[in-house]
């Protein structure tokens, strides 16, 4: 389990990184950020990049801060940065709740938020956060920068809208209004394992009824997404067991679950029902 050989590049500026990427990406070059997902696949030789462009030496990519109503998360911001709330209000708390479910402490110290989004494992917690909250992905190449909405970004298991030679330089999460409630629930076999199913929900209560519900489901399909029918089952209803069950049932009905060694289609569907309901209950608590 030794990685195949590669040429190592370690630029110290974004521009240099983009220039190198432009050159080596067509020759099977990849970005190395935290490496906590990429390096294991290299150890199994499931991936054998010929070039690695290590971005860990680029200081400007470590930026984590507020920017026009959004939280800007640079490509080198580690998971561990979110252990304590990084922003006032619900978003910071939400992120610090979710981060505890990501792998284990040493992985969180090294792995990066954007790396998770670029890797796009269907069971990645951050991908679910990005999909549910409507993150904007800032993709850069030497010839320019583009923004990709979460709905367009996640295209399937380990597949994103990033094209060859693009660097996911930043992810932007919209701040949540102060009264936003959130709930996250994940089911995995062991502590720190990838989710077999998980759900992140947010909503506000307006005059005792649910407003602007968002119901995200991850780990169950090829990519995380919001479930419109579940949100519709909540909007304008009181946060009761009845409406939560209706939303959970809607989510379970809406998804097309993947089957793997851990979970059959029908089991995963059952789990989606459970995680959505429990996420809603946590949000309401």
């Amino acid at each position: 389990m030794k990685p195949a050989p590669f040429t190592y590049h370690h630029p110290t500026t974004v521009d240099a990184a983009l220039a190198t990427l432009a050159e080596v990406a067509p020759k099977d070059g990849r970005v190395l950020a935290g490496g906590q997902s990429l390096v294991p696949t290299m150890a199994f030789r499931l991936s054998r990049p010929a070039h690695l462009v290590d971005i860990n030496g680029i200081k400007s990519l470590e930026r984590l801060g507020l920017d026009g109503g959004e939280l800007s998360i640079g490509a080198c911001v580690r998971h561990a940065a979110f252990h304590r709330p990084v922003a006032e209000g619900p978003l910071g708390r939400l992120l610090s709740t979710v981060v505890r479910h990501i792998a284990h402490y040493p992985i969180r110290v090294r792995g990066t938020f954007c790396g998770s989004l670029a890797h796009a494992d269907p069971a990645s917690e951050w991908c679910l956060v990005a999909a549910t909250l409507g993150a904007t992905m800032v993709a850069r190449r030497s010839s320019g920068t583009r923004k990709i909405a979460a709905g367009d970004y996640f295209q399937g298991p380990l597949m994103t809208a990033l094209s060859e030679g693009e660097l996911l330089a930043e992810a932007r999460l919209p701040l949540l209004p102060g009264e936003t409630r959130y709930g996250f629930y994940e089911f995995s076999r062991r502590a720190g394992d990838y989710a077999i199913a998980m759900s992140l929900v947010t909503f506000r209560l307006k005059d005792g009824v649910i407003a602007e519900p968002r119901v995200g489901v991850g780990g169950a399909e090829g990519a995380p997404r919001r479930i419109g029918t579940a949100e519709a089952a909540l909007a304008g209803r009181a946060p009761t067991a009845q409406s939560f069950t209706a939303a959970a049932d809607a989510a379970a009905a809406a998804i097309d679950p993947v089957e793997d060694a851990q979970a059959s289609v029908s089991y995963r569907r059952d789990l989606v029902r459970t995680v959505v309901r429990r996420a809603l209950e946590r949000a309401a608590a």
Binding site: M1, P40, R45, F187, R189, A191, G192, A261, Y267, D270
Partner: protein
Amino acid sequence: MSLEKKKYIGQPLQRLEDPPLITGRGRYAADVSFPRQLHMRIVRSPIAHGRLKSIDTAAAKSAPGVHAVWTAADIPEVPPIGFREGRIERLEPYRQPVLATDRVRYVGEPIAAVFADDPYLAEDAADLVTADIEELPPLLSADEPPREFEPGRSTEADIVRQGYGDVDAAFKLAHAVVELDLRIGRHSGVPLETRGAIARYDAARDVLELHGAAKVPHRNQEALSRMLNRPMAGMHLYEGHVGGGFGIRGELYPEDVLVCVAALRLERPIKWIEDRHEHLIAANHSRQQRHKVRAAVAADGEILAIDDEFFHDQGAYLRTHAIRVPHMTCGILPGPYRIPAYRAAGHVRLTNKTPAATYRAPGRYETTFVRERLVDAIAAKLGMDPVEVRRRNTITSAEMPYHRPLQALGEEIDHDSGDYMGLLDKAMARVGWDKLQADLKRRRAAGEAVGAGIALFVEKSGLGPTDGVRISVDINGMVEVVTGGASIGQGFETVMAQICAETLGVDYRRIRVIHGQTDKIEHGIGAHASRATVMTGSATHVAATKLRAKAIDVAAELLQAPAAALDVIEGKVVRTDRPDGPSIELGDIARHLSATSKTRGDREPGLSVTGWFTTEHQVYPYGAHIAVVRVDRDTGAVTVEQYLAAYDIGRAVNPMLVKGQIVGGFAQGLGGALFEEFRYDERGEPLSVTFADYLLPTVRETPRIDIMLTEEAPSPRNPLGIKGAGESGITGVGGAIASAIDAAIGKPGAVTQLPVTPQRLKELLKAAPAAP
């Protein structure tokens, strides 16, 4: 000066093994390196079953740093790996070749070996080896009808049968018959250190050395010297630190043979370190069985007969253990119960999966699950309390020794001592069984899915027949205990030192314990079957007793004192009747006994002795486990809320280490009950090939457990009354948790398969609504 003799046996002393291990100075297999060594990388079959038509090694041979690439054609003289107990004619065709010849039979089977300067380069080159394999349909289940292993030979290698009494008559007379169909999943020991083997040939001495040995170095010395046609004196094995054994490490595997052959032929040291992916497909698997078991019972709960037919999924080959596990499965199934008539037939069936052999408590983890499920089912059928069914059938202490005409590990079962039901009663008292049950009932009424379950079992340990130990004292009074035992991380050195210390009368920290070095002692049967403390410990006791007598004999002459008035206390021979009288250090006695000493007289030189311990029977410790679990009805997840492992060990040399064995065994049993499983797809492709797929419990999944260690039934079969400790923690876990889950979901007999994964449990929950 005080004449108080210090106690070592029975004390929770700190381990002698720890200092190098906690400071990073251990030497595990991967830490062994020799100048000019080459690294071996195995090319493995990617196909579960196929005809191996050709292997192309040309590209690999010309890759950077490569010295040789071998296929089976390069080592025609090397025979398949034999069985430890010797030739078994009818089973010989099922042995594993060191490299596959014309057939591949499981994903992971070695088909070629690359030797290169560096492990990275070896792996690069191994990637370049291509094999032309004509895929054949794989046989993946021992339930399926057997097929042809090779022309004229069935994949059913054997049917092992054991039994006694008139089973058919018992079923005819029975008040009721209870029948179950039970499955145990494929698990294994999965030690944290993968396997490793480093061979070096020293032409100057004509000695072939194999480093990285474990468990049974002497037996492997025999096997390798036979396979390689070398004198045993020119074939030595060395055990370093061992990163966990659990039954699977230390068996003789193809890679061990290959490094030896290569070291001889390439005249370079050869190092092979298994990677984790390889480990999960190449090292022994274990456990997988399906039992179709029936019990004939009387109206009062007496079990009149058990009739078990089981299917043992052996995987692709018979390895060193041949058919020991299924044979022991037959022998040990009745456990603590009388069972007047018994019949077991085990179908040993080869499949296209990793070969199977022993994993901690082989045959017992499986049969305890089966037997205890059966007892619970009997209780359910008769409307009796499961505890009462156990009480009705348990062998009592008045019946000891209790002989059963069945065999395990080639010996007749002969329970030595114990009060099995007494231990269960104590365990139930410890958890407050009645109150516990009332609490659980209340919680169930309130909607929770919680329940308690029991497993009662008898272990076997201390496989004989003989072990020898040599103890010597040097002129500085330091003691060396040379054993043929092995240390797989269990605290062997400390335990032997404690026995020697108390028996001889020296501080245990002045004792150095040697194990696993075939050039230090001729005989040794290593560490397996919970035998180290029983056998090697008893031999240590015998030797230390002799050494003490010898020292006193010399001291009596030197001190001009009657031997009866002398004792050895903290390394000094003293007069017990005159505390202030003259004394002499053991080191000084050793000096008097040195070969050139003028005061030696006609005694043999050296303050050293060899002691042998021989036994005809194993010893039978026993245990009772009680589990309390909570089931999440929505997800099917199980949480163990409470667990008690009660165990009578006869005598604990170091209770801290015994408890450590039990807690660690429990965690493994928990893995087998809820998490761990080697799975395959329909093509025979293994699905559990990473630590993200083969789920070892972490600290989060492993609850703290309560241990009740008793010493009420010392074994009459050895001088210290010792019984083994290694396996009791794991044996009952599958059975106890299964029973607790049944209770939690209100469905007696629901759990028929281990591990109880959330998905399986969810299916059980959906099958019919739970009774409140």
